[in-house]
């Protein structure tokens, strides 16, 4: 027998009970209607009522991570229910197993609010089996539940839904929800939602809520390409110059009314109108990318103003790949609430192109995607509601072409990397993680490469060349991390804090830089050049950088300019005395006033005052040098607002050291230019004995 005949037999035998129908028809018996759960969700339209097949919910055979803790809720007091719910939420944090879950709302909510709550955390539809109404009545089954939602009337205090276990934690983190707890059939009749405000129950620590509103994210090392790039560590250049703080015990006396500049240059800054921007970065010198809640856009930038080049409506876009030079970008996005779209963004041509991923995503959801540009291998992990399908494809122009199913698994599959057309991925079961490989373009060809004790999570890098795998099995140590190297099919011990950014083989680990070479980590310079390979978020422009500010995009000078490539990364520690620091600030202030032609603004509005200030702040010889360089136009402002003075030698009459002037933040680390500085004691106090810069 072949499978076609097999399924014909199966479907003929069990789909309809022909004998029963025949018998009932002759008895004149009509069929009744069964109460069914109402399915809500999937689209933003709250009124979209999607009715799905079957009263029986499917259940994956693979029960990894699923822990059932249901019980008789009516027999428990509120506190016990809270504890139980917390345990259930924790134990099922990664479970895709479906449970009947009783959701107690924080007060009585409207039907629309309830739909918002219940659909906020799932990409798929949520069957609502029962609603508890504020008047004490219940709506049971699809028709009654549907009537409540359709009418929009009534106040709802609780609901019983059927959802994956992992949703409980997300629901518990929602301020509109008091509890989400597993319910049994018995609870349908006997249990009631908890109405006690959550604050009166107990402190519920539900752990990390960062991803509670999101479907499984597409991970890349370092928190994802579209991670927060608000760049809180980037100084806001729009602010006014900081006034210099005059030390109290210096003997240097400036002319009255003088307020010397720190050299902190506000520089260029431009802010757009409110574009609704959530992310923004320059992809090249002339084009910046903007992600809004419902679209991705490219703007052209001419140095003075922006103009919209192209916009594509797409919900919740997430970048899954960006080329090392920023010229191309692949994003996934939702259509009608389902992540099934893929677009490739071409900064050079200013185009946003639909990749046609629906051809293999179908009705599924994109759980992850990765692209290796060198080998032109695209891998997309598709979850179809029950299992994960790993597809490979390549780009034909902008289209994902020749898609083939490489692997299929009931549990989530981690994409690990690609090398020479071979795709590496892993899954975990029974406390073990298996790494497989398969040739792109072939069907169901996974072969085991390695087997590891423990369950490992994995973050593939943007370039799809390596993945950081972290053991999450507590018994084995939850900090054990390795880098998977596809080229050598080996694991390299690493830190959990390893980030590749958009680099192919360069990574940052605990503040140091390494290159993956021949299956090992080779330490490389801690330089801005290496930082730039990883720190892609700032800008792919050497001139400009885009920052998001309340929906607008602020454009400021890029820190990755040609001059900064020579800056050193580090964190020097100030060790100067108050007297020396004051002397430095005053001397630098005079230099800055001269170099930026802001003497008048600084209060040095007469030649006498300027001369007096130079005499006060510099030694005699340094003062002469300053005047000479000023006349030849050979002075450069020095930003001392975040400068660090490190004194190497110090005695009664002189001091030598290094002034580290911060030029920017690179890959989270400060970059400095270093200047030798010298002080000498003249006329009773230390004065700057050199011209900085």
């Amino acid at each position: 027998m072949n499978k076609h005949d097999f399924y014909k037999e199966i479907m003929s035998e069990y789909t309809f009970d022909k004998d029963k129908i025949l018998s009932n028809a002759k008895k004149g018996k009509f069929a009744g209607r069964k109460p069914l759960p109402l399915y809500i969700g999937m689209t933003a339209a709250a009124a979209a009522l999607v009715v799905a097949v079957g009263t029986a919910a499917f259940s994956l055979t693979n029960h990894r991570g699923a822990v059932y803790n249901g019980g008789n809720l009516a027999a428990l007091d509120d506190k016990q229910r809270v504890d139980k719910a917390k345990t259930e939420a924790d134990q099922n944090a990664n479970s895709v197993e479906l449970y009947d879950v009783m959701v107690s709302f924080n007060g009585a909510l409207s039907p629309a609010e309830v739909q918002n709550v219940l659909t906020a955390y799932s990409d798929s539809s949520i069957p609502v089996k029962l609603l508890f109404l504020a008047d004490g009545s219940k709506a049971v089954g699809g028709e009654q539940v549907g009537a409540v939602f359709e009418s929009g009337n009534g106040s709802i205090t609780g609901a019983i839904i059927n959802c994956p276990g992992r949703l409980m934690k997300s629901l518990m983190n929602d301020s509109r929800v008091v509890l989400a707890e597993i319910a049994t059939q018995e609870d349908f009749n006997s249990a009631l939602p908890i109405t006690t405000p959550i604050g009166n129950l107990t402190n519920i620590d539900n752990g990390d809520s960062d991803n509670s509103h999101n479907p499984p994210d597409i991970d890349v090392s370092g928190g994802g390409i579209d991670g927060d790039n608000s760049n809180s560590d980037v100084p806001d250049n729009s602010g006014a110059d900081d006034p210099i703080i005059m030390p109290q015990n210096t003997e240097i006396k400036l002319p009255a009314g003088v307020n010397l500049p720190t050299g902190h240059n506000a520089g260029f800054s431009y802010i757009t109108d409110d574009l609704g921007a959530e992310r923004a970065y320059f992809l090249n010198e002339n084009v910046f990318y903007v992600k809004t809640a419902n679209s991705v856009r490219l703007y052209r930038w001419n140095g003075e103003s922006e103009s919209l080049a192209v916009s594509q409506n797409i919900e919740d876009a997430q970048a899954c790949w960006i080329s090392e030079n920023g010229s191309r970008l692949i994003v996934t996005g939702k259509e009608n609430g389902i992540r099934r779209k893929m677009f490739i963004i071409d900064a050079y041509n200013c185009t946003i192109n639909d990749m046609g991923a629906e051809s293999f995503v179908g009705d599924g959801t994109i759980a992850a995607a990765a692209y290796n540009e060198n080998d032109d291998v695209l891998v997309v992990n598709v979850f179809d509601g029950e299992a994960y399908f790993l597809y490979t494809a390549h780009l034909n122009g902008y289209q994902a072409a020749d898609a083939a199913t490489l692997f299929m698994d009931g549990a989530n599959v981690n994409i690990l990397g690609e090398f020479g057309g071979t795709v590496y991925f892993s899954d975990s079961a029974d406390g073990k993680t298996t790494i497989y490989k398969g040739e792109a373009g072939t069907a169901l060809s996974g072969n085991v490469v390695l087997e590891l004790e423990g369950v490992y999570s994995a973050n593939v890098n943007s370039a799809f060349t390596h993945a950081v795998m972290t053991c999450t099995t507590e018994a084995l140590g939850d900090t054990e991390s390795t880098i998977f190297d596809p080229e050598t099919e080996s694991l390299i011990p690493a830190s959990a804090n390893t980030s590749f950014g958009v680099a192919l083989h360069t990574c940052e680990m605990d503040g140091e830089y390494f290159k993956v070479e021949n299956g090992a980590l080779v330490k490389i310079d801690k330089s801005v050049a290496n930082a730039a390979k990883i720190d892609f978020k700032r800008s792919f422009s050497a001139t400009y950088m885009a920052l998001v500010s309340n929906g607008s995009v602020r454009i400021v000078p890029s820190v990755y300019n040609s001059a900064n490539k020579n800056a050193a990364l580090g964190q020097p520690t100030e060790n100067s005395t108050e007297e020396l620091r004051a002397a430095l600030n005053l001397g630098a202030g005079v230099i800055n006033a001269l170099a930026t032609d802001k003497c008048a603004e600084a209060g040095l509005d007469t030649a006498e005052k300027l001369s007096e200030a130079i005499d006060e702040c510099f030694t005699k010889s340094a003062g002469e040098d300053l005047k000479s360089r000023n006349e030849s136009g050979n002075l450069t402002a020095v930003d001392i607002s975040e400068a660090v003075l490190v004194i190497d030698e110090n005695n009664e009459n002189s001091a030598d050291g290094t002034l580290y002037v911060k030029v920017g933040t690179f890959d989270g680390k400060n970059g400095y230019f270093a200047y030798n500085v010298r002080f000498a004691k003249e006329r009773g106090c230390f004065r700057l004995d050199c011209v900085i810069g």
Binding site: M1, N2, M11, T15, D17, K26, F30, V53, A56, A443
Partner: protein
Amino acid sequence: MGKPEIDSYFNDVYAATFTAVSRFVTSHASRLQDAEDIIQNVYTRFYKRIDDKGYEDIESAEAFLINIAKFECRSFLASFIKRRERVKNMSDFSEEESAALDAELSRDEPLLEDILNNKILAKQIFDDIMNRDETVGRIFYLHFVCDMKLDEVADKLGLNVSTVKTKLYRTIEKQKKKFGL
């Protein structure tokens, strides 16, 4: 017209039309799970009709039943709106997957007969199909029982052929793994 004659006529019509009626209902019912109830009502109405008024005036029992089925499909749970979005711009199911699917379905596997004889396991396999999204059940029924080609199934269900093939392929692959088929 005596009862035995009605019953005899009904039995003949039932045997001759069941596949056509079930195909129509399977592809038109708002919810697949309602299909059996709808078919039940179709034949009950039909039986009452011929019991009350005879069947002499019925030229084509199948056409008559399909008309009843249309009415039943429209009226049964009409308050629910079935939203089935047609997937647009789908490219073809890959040739490799099509070939794999054809090979999968045509390969001779003696073990399958043993599974069919194991009623419990066979029912589990059936339930696994029906408990997936409702379209899967429809596709399996129309393709395997009603012998409709996949492009006909796609047309009947308002889906792209590629989607139909994908659903079929995925389900078979999952069942292979789950039940060792």
